[in-house]
Symmetry: C2
Subunit: 392 residues, 2 copies
């Protein structure tokens, strides 16, 4: 680094954001540096969680920052002396630590002693969940998350005396809500038979009477579920189409009237997709009453930094579904951006991941291990191959 001239803030951030092709631009690089500065030493997962960037993106930024000597790795990313000076002088950083409320970690809701038993139960039930079908965009949230969701809904007046429908429920949030034993009706609609039978079993065991209905939401809701509910909860596939489809079915499920609640969980996507998403929400005559970043936490959902936001949407007089009949478009993330990714194992073996690959998803690869050496981690992404269209 000798004789290297002073590098301005913009040059460094711009350079790295260009090299790593970020849709968030320079701001993403700044966020990564700031989190390292605030925490002193931080692992890639925590860095992704804090910056709301996908883990592979964070890893790429981290590598570039290492390359130019601003950070180093010793059990986590740390600033070098040069990095500290850059952070303080070029970026103007000064404060360490986080200001998020330590009691609720910024979720707004506290799990008081009164509800700790729910957490214990949900920990047990969460263990019983079958392995996620990642091609259905299943990714299981932590048991804490289900409890926080149920308590948020309770706080908002959407549990007691309410008729609630869950459109997809791989997280068993219906069980957490059921444990509050104060709703008038709880219905779960899911395409995954395994989850429904687990929820049904827990419900019987707890004497809770949750109704489980197998249904593919690409088909319109059955007549007897339309116009019957006060509250909708959904954690749909994280594509704008997926959200639009699930929320449209949600609007169909709601009774007439306004100020009805639809709870939506969704990944922290890049700016353009966030805008598109919110436009679709408004187009359906819904508005966002509340949006809490990082409310939901997951395990093994690296592409969206193991965390998603929760939004409480409310209906207006204009509320109407965007999609009414059978929907044959793409809704799952694997369908929406179909491509093959080539990974290299440390043993040298190359493995393709994608709809037509050796494995459907990286999670599947990690779970099964390298077909040659059996390793379950350390796969390096070497290339992305755009998918050839299936037809035409």
């Amino acid at each position: 680094m000798k004789e290297e001239p002073y590098v301005s803030e913009d040059e460094v951030l711009g350079l790295i954001s260009k090299r790593t092709v970020l849709s968030e631009g320079e701001d993403a690089v700044r966020r990564v540096l700031r989190e390292i500065y605030r925490r002193g030493r931080v692992g890639t997962k925590d860095l992704a969680y804090a910056t709301l960037l996908p883990i592979p993106v964070v890893a790429a930024i981290r590598r570039e920052l290492e390359r130019i000597g601003l950070i180093t790795r010793r059990g986590g990313a740390m600033l070098t002396e040069c990095g500290r000076i850059y952070a303080e002088q070029a970026l103007g950083l000064k404060f360490r630590g986080s200001l998020l409320c330590p009691s609720c970690s910024g979720r707004r809701i506290a799990v008081e002693d009164e509800f700790r038993w729910m957490l214990e139960k949900m920990r047990v039930y969460a263990e019983m969940r079958p392995r996620p079908y990642t091609w259905l965009d299943q990714a299981f949230c932590t048991p804490e998350t289900s409890v926080y969701r149920a308590l948020l809904m309770l706080e908002e007046g959407d549990v007691e005396g309410r008729e609630i429908i869950f459109l997809g429920d791989d997280d068993l949030t219906s069980v957490a809500v059921g444990l509050l034993r104060s709703s008038r009706r709880i219905v779960v609609v899911d395409v995954d038979e395994r989850l429904l039978s687990l929820i049904g079993e827990i419900s019987r065991h707890e004497g809770m009477d949750i109704e489980c209905i197998r249904h593919d939401l690409r088909d319109p809701l059955p007549e007897d579920l339309r116009g019957r509910f006060d509250v909708v909860f959904t954690d749909p596939p994280y594509t704008v189409q997926g959200m639009s489809l699930f929320v449209s079915r949600g609007i169909d499920a709601l009774k007439e009237g306004k100020c009805m609640s639809i709870y939506l969980s969704y990944a922290h996507k890049p700016p353009d997709e966030m805008l598109e998403l919110q436009r679709a929400i408004n187009e359906m005559g819904l508005f966002i009453r509340e949006l809490i970043p990082r409310f939901n936490r997951y395990e093994g959902a690296e592409m969206f930094a193991n965390t998603t936001f929760i939004a409480k949407l409310e209906t207006t007089d204009e509320a109407h579904p965007l999609i009414t009949g059978r929907f044959d478009g793409k809704i799952y993330t694997g369908e929406a951006s179909p491509k093959l990714r080539l990974y290299k194992c440390r043993c040298g073996h190359t493995i393709s991941v994608g709809v037509d690959g050796d494995f459907r998803t990286i999670e599947d690869l990690k779970s099964s291990g390298c077909p040659r050496c059996g390793r379950k981690s350390g796969f390096q992404l070497v290339r992305r191959i755009p998918h050839r269209p299936a037809r035409g």
Copy 2:
């Protein structure tokens, strides 16, 4: 009440929501009953705060609930025995108390000991604010609110090393941010000379270098403020036009690039206006990264329940102002719904309030007192007279 047949949930809620002409519909009545149930006894201001309804609306609902015998008043609204049975059996209520995090009251941010001195200072400075010009929709937030705002911005990475512009700042939030002594530049634009000279004085006293510029935002920003800032903060007039104007000027003030932050405070309006507001936000190519209800607290802002939400908006590649040139439309709440209201004092005197009235606003009337007897409270709204158009 003898021989009165069983009244269903919907009949009671529907009846009262019709009598009080609520844009929130039956849900508003339910929310009021639920808050009384949860708290045991609650005053009208707290009820408005909790339900996000204007104080006069809450008072009207409360009167109707009293009339049909569901609640009574003894130092606050309380359920009668009949009301309790209704709440539990018809509405299905069961849980008392609040689940909002007691440490941060649902604001997500905690004021740690490290920052208590800021609160002390802001309490002193808040006392120095001049009387609000209510026709400019000024309403002063609490000193705590300014500190929470500054810390939220700090947490989000929008203070350190940043160039920040405040579009209107009757709350002295610029001072709270300035006290963190880590921004690169702080500029306040306001039309009110009195506030600018106070902020200038505090800034000099603290050695902070806040730039104060007198400017009416109905005119485009001066050239030397365009494209210069990383962060915008605004608490605009609570009309969709007012928000669109202030945020448009904000977009003009921002540097090129995405993921730039615009902090927007706004009242919890009825569903249709919330939808219109969010559509305008999206139309400007901005999305909502975070929306925290009840983040800001005010004194003497009864029409919006003494509380507003804060939203962190972010720019995308599509960001553009909705309003570019001079704007001559209506932006203040007094202009947007111009009408005269007639109040009756307890002494029997009738007083008109509105742009052409004896007093411009109810706050002005309360501050000066009844012209006949001098009473400063207990005015009852007796009639609304739609304003005759000024021209044509």
